[in-house]
């Protein structure tokens, strides 16, 4: 029976586990991890021993089997030691364990327990521990969530039973617990304030909070704001003055008790921002009740500035500083608003810079495109001229006699050479207009005369296809612009209309005065342009039926470089209409 394979796999797995555990120890160096490592170290040993024992079974005595339970026992003892160490570490509430391992609700209970024990340790000197026990019982009666808390033999609050009975808490339950514990803490603070000056108590409590883990501090924000920032001020007032303040300052569940202590337990029902708002409202009313005393504002500012960093981080998270009444943390407000302005300015500058970059990139691209088309067109035109000359010479028989068939072919060549020359001329026009480099020779000229010129140019085409063009022009319609270019642009549209109109069809050219503009409309009764393609007809090299697809792109460039508008309309069935708007005067 092959036992070697499973044994080898087991050995491999146990070594892998050991190395992964080593990696955990690398990122998380704790004493108990060493114990775990020791336990895991025995695992591969077990399989190595098993391999040896299997191979040399015959030579080893029966007592060799005893090694297995011995190795297992060593492993188990190491595991127990590791667990014990981990438990102690968790109980001590060391910072790393708090942030990495401990459940948030348990950590919160521990934090409250620590604060309560700090206060109990001091007040038990003035009153008996029995009174503290009674107070705790009263709190448990009011807040059953505290059930399981008790005062131990060492006169300290214990929460271990509560922890053991605790299922994992949701946020709502955590809030209830905060409410209960803060009630208990408030009562303890009240007792201590009767014997020790409150400012001293507040400072000592703040020192305790400073040590807390940042995840727990958020639950102590109301405690800090009400009990440490505001209560020292309120407690300075006694008798009638305090009574007046109490009457004036009462914000939905947050009020001042007879001793001058603030009770704020209901505040845990709200989210962090609403809590902040409630505090601000309470503060505003307090300031009003104190007659807008500037000294009070200064003192609150001082206390807020002295808060430890972990608390400040939590409190200043939202818009707390900005919401504070005038006279409190004014300098910080100025810094914040100038910071906001600076950020806004930076964002705006960044946007402008990005826009400039993209414009520059586009311009570079346009220039490259123009240069490219320019070079290509010129490079094509030079040899083409030579080809055309020699073709003409051959056709006319000046380079020797040619047969009828050769003449036919040469005629066809000449037609194609002409077509190619026209295409190159078109291409040559695009870059110059695109780059806005062309100097337009602008003048005022008659639209009707120009249209007639165009018709005479395309007459041959019209005759070939049996089409006709009707003109309807307003009297004295003028256009201001480069006559040659505009004529070329409109001719391109007319040629296009001729191409897409069936034989025997009709094209109409209207010329209308439209304010300061001449409105030229070219309508054909061809097959029209599909609506989804209408925007694309002016794109360079866009063509529906072969051709270079440059005519309309050139027309658009010409019209737009004159500050005019060009657009097309079609329902995709009954022909298409092109509109051109050009200025009549300067």
């Amino acid at each position: 029976m092959n036992l070697i394979t499973p044994l080898a796999i087991n050995l491999f797995l146990s070594v892998t586990i050991f190395f992964v555990a080593m990696q955990i120890y690398n990122v998380y160096r704790r004493k108990y991890m060493l114990w775990f490592l020791l336990a895991l170290f025995f695992l591969p040993l077990l399989f190595i021993y098993s391999l040896l024992e299997w191979v040399y079974l015959s030579k080893i005595s029966i007592y060799s089997i005893v090694a297995y339970p011995l190795i297992i026992i060593a492993m188990e003892i190491s595991t127990i030691m590791a667990q014990k160490n981990l438990l102690t570490s968790l109980k001590k509430g060391e910072k790393v364990e708090y942030s990495l391992l401990l459940r948030e609700d348990i950590a919160l209970i521990r934090a409250f327990e620590k604060m309560a024990n700090y206060l109990i340790g001091r007040i038990s000197l003035f009153i008996g521990i029995k009174d503290v026990e009674e107070l705790l019982e009263e709190c448990i009666e009011k807040y059953p969530v505290l059930a399981g808390c008790y005062i131990g033999m060492d006169e300290k609050l214990k929460t271990d039973i509560m922890e053991e009975n605790l299922g994992e808490m949701d946020y709502e339950e955590m809030e209830k617990m905060c409410m209960a514990f803060s009630y208990f803490l408030t009562k303890l603070v009240d007792i201590q304030a009767a014997f020790v000056p409150y400012t001293e108590t507040a400072e000592e409590l703040l020192r305790e909070i400073k040590k807390m883990d940042e995840k727990i501090v958020k639950y102590f924000v109301p405690f800090v704001l009400f009990k440490i920032v505001l209560e020292p001020i309120i407690r300075e007032y006694k008798g009638e003055e305090l009574k007046n303040i109490r009457m004036m300052v009462d914000v939905e569940g947050i009020y001042i008790n007879r001793k001058g202590g603030i009770e704020y337990h209901g505040i845990y029902e709200y989210d962090a921002i609403t809590r902040e708002d409630k505090f601000i409202k309470f503060l505003e009313r307090l300031l009003v009740s104190l007659g807008g005393d500037e000294g009070v504002r200064k003192r609150i500012t001082e206390i807020l500035r002295k808060l430890p960093e972990n608390v400040k981080e939590e409190i200043y998270r939202y818009e707390f500083i900005k919401k504070l009444p005038r006279g409190i943390l004014d300098e910080e407000k100025i810094v914040l608003s100038s910071k906001d302005k600076l950020i806004q300015e930076l964002i705006e500058r960044k946007e402008k810079l990005e826009e400039a970059y993209s414009r520059l990139a586009q311009a570079k691209m346009d220039k490259m495109k123009s240069d490219f088309v320019d070079i290509i067109a010129h490079e094509l035109k030079t040899p083409l001229t030579a080809i055309k000359t020699y073709t003409e010479l051959m056709r006319k028989g000046k380079l020797g006699r040619i047969t009828k068939l050769q003449k036919e072919k040469l005629d066809r060549m000449a037609i194609n050479i002409d077509r190619m020359a026209r295409l190159i001329d078109d291409m040559l026009q695009i870059p110059s207009i695109d780059a806005r480099e062309l100097e337009l020779r602008k003048e005022i000229f008659g639209a009707e005369e120009m249209v007639k010129n165009i018709i005479s140019d395309v007459e041959e085409m019209l005759n070939e296809r049996g089409q006709r063009i009707d003109i309807e022009m307003d009297d004295g319609l003028k256009i201001f612009g480069d006559k040659n270019l505009i004529e070329k642009a409109i001719k391109n549209i007319v040629v296009n209309a001729i191409k897409y109109t069936p034989e025997g069809g009709k094209i109409v050219i209207h010329g209308l005065k439209d304010g300061e503009y001449s409105h030229i409309i070219i309508r054909d009764n061809g097959k029209g342009i599909p609506p989804d393609e209408i925007e694309r007809v002016f794109e360079p090299f866009y063509s529906r039926e072969g051709g270079a697809g440059l005519g309309l792109a050139i027309a658009k460039n010409v019209v737009e470089s004159h500050g005019g508008r060009i657009w097309a309309e079609s329902d995709g069935r009954n022909g298409s209409t092109f509109h051109i708007m050009l200025r009549m005067r300067k």
Partner: protein, 98 residues
């Protein structure tokens, strides 16, 4: 003599996991990172495999290769689950520690 020695050692080695389990469940009540089920299942399979491995020695004072093989497969399953759990813990802690 051999059987008494082996039985007493086995008894100790089976008692210790019970103590370990008590600590384990206490820790798990406090812990936020939860891969407990993998670790527990892995450990349970390991212990079962170990018991099967020792059974022939306890009762007939000899080896039964078929049972030994079966115990190795049980242990293999346990180690696989354990390796997965440990690896997951490593990935999670690495994230948290960052």
């Amino acid at each position: 003599m051999f059987r008494v020695l082996l039985a007493s050692l086995t008894a100790i080695s089976l008692l210790l996991p019970i103590i370990s389990y008590r600590y384990f469940s206490h820790i798990m009540r406090l812990m936020r990172i939860r891969r407990a089920n993998f670790l527990l299942a892995g450990a349970a399979l390991l212990v079962t495999g170990y018991i099967f491995f020792l059974l022939p020695w306890l009762f007939i004072e000899n080896d039964v290769p078929a049972i030994r093989l079966f115990s190795y497969y049980l242990v293999m399953g346990g180690l696989g689950v354990l390796a997965y759990g440990v690896f997951k813990i490593y990935m999670e802690w690495k994230e948290v520690m960052r």
